[in-house]
Symmetry: C2
DNA sequence: CCTATTATTTACTGTCGTGTCAGTAATCGT
DNA sequence: ACGATTACTGACACGACAGTAAATAATAGG
């Protein structure tokens, strides 16, 4: 009967928190937000549900925001790096697209979590703000690539559309319907050609 | 105590069915799929939950597929009409975009239901098939607008990207951040410019 | 008018997910 | 060594929702 005598694990709060964030990221990514219960996160993290509430008092929403923040930070870092090269706009666009697709191939589920969940309906405010911030960032990042002569709203529509285009083609890549080379090449050309039309 | 004597309403099956479809469309659109319970549909339709199961044995998923089908049918009809004009490709594109945006302004919630829900994760098969059909249709519709010289995968990526672009700018329009004229003009130009790049 | 049919409801069961409370075990300071 | 603090847990109340069985009222056919 030698009970393995429940040796509890007891970690430093920061460590536990990041551990939880990591696990939550996995589960949310796999199952999607709506389909994920705190119970599963707790189980996989070898942790009680109560502890989740202790570190993230607002429960699931707060946990999700934390995860979104993590993923977004990574993505933004890589993207910024891709834009920092000393080449012309067209080259930068290609670099951006390539980086984006590469990130998605490495984090396909996180991608869906970030961009393909139906935020905006009845979800808590924390999430809405996180999503707005996300859109904001993407826009700031892409705006400089467009011809700077165009008026505000046009620019906004164009950048937003560019993001949509990227996401749609990315989906195709993830579904295995188009290989990466073609995806990157086509999307890049499309974007270059599209942005070129704004001034005329 | 004069009970208004529960006069049941008893309709012909077809009528009830379409009534239910209508109500379901409203509720799904407002609340989103995940957040909608059958109870609410039943309540708003002045009908018992059991009846829903009677006419749609698979419950929520089946109900949703029915609604998606209705909305999609409408959208496709309008879109086809817009493409049937005897003008050149560029004009057709403008017409398509305009029609699309117009439809969305009239059915903003249905739009979100169709395109912005996270289908593809753990949802029942019926839904997945419905979504695939939807993508299929959109692709067939847009494909002919691209320069026909490009190879298959490129064409696929381009059409898919076009849809993404449309959806993204539509979102902007619905959010009131850009007015319709600008949205249509910018999206059209972008698409025209983008598709033109495919051959080179 | 009466019976067979069927459209419809009431009332219920089981499941699952959130959020909480009272308690238990590890660690730290002294 | 031994309290005091703090990380952590088990068990449960509570509500919402999917799904079902059996009864009931409306209609159609004779």
């Amino acid at each position: 009967m030698a009970q393995t005598a429940e040796t509890r694990v007891r970690m430093a709060p920061e460590a536990r928190k990041t551990l939880i964030r990591t696990v939550a990221r996995e589960v949310f990514a796999e199952r999607g937000y709506a389909a994920t219960g705190l119970a599963e996160i707790a189980e996989r993290g070898q942790v009680s549900k109560t502890l989740l509430y202790h570190y993230f008092p607002d429960g699931r929403p707060e946990l999700l925001v934390a995860v979104m923040d993590d993923v977004l930070t990574e993505l933004m870092a890589e993207t910024r790096a891709a834009l920092a090269v000393p080449f012309g706009v067209n080259r930068k666009i290609e670099g951006l697209v390539d980086t984006f697709m590469s990130f998605l191939e490495r984090n396909p589920d996180a991608f869906r979590l970030l961009f393909r969940e139906p935020w905006g309906s009845g979800e808590p405010r924390i999430i809405r703000r996180a999503v707005e911030a996300q859109v904001q960032l993407a826009t700031e990042l892409i705006s400089p690539l467009a011809s700077s002569g165009a008026p505000g709203p046009v620019l906004l529509a164009a950048t937003s559309g560019t993001v949509g285009l990227l996401l749609a083609t990315a989906e195709l890549l993830l579904a295995g319907q188009v290989d990466r080379e073609v995806t990157v090449a086509t999307a890049s050309r499309y974007i270059i050609g599209g942005l070129a039309q704004l001034g005329s």
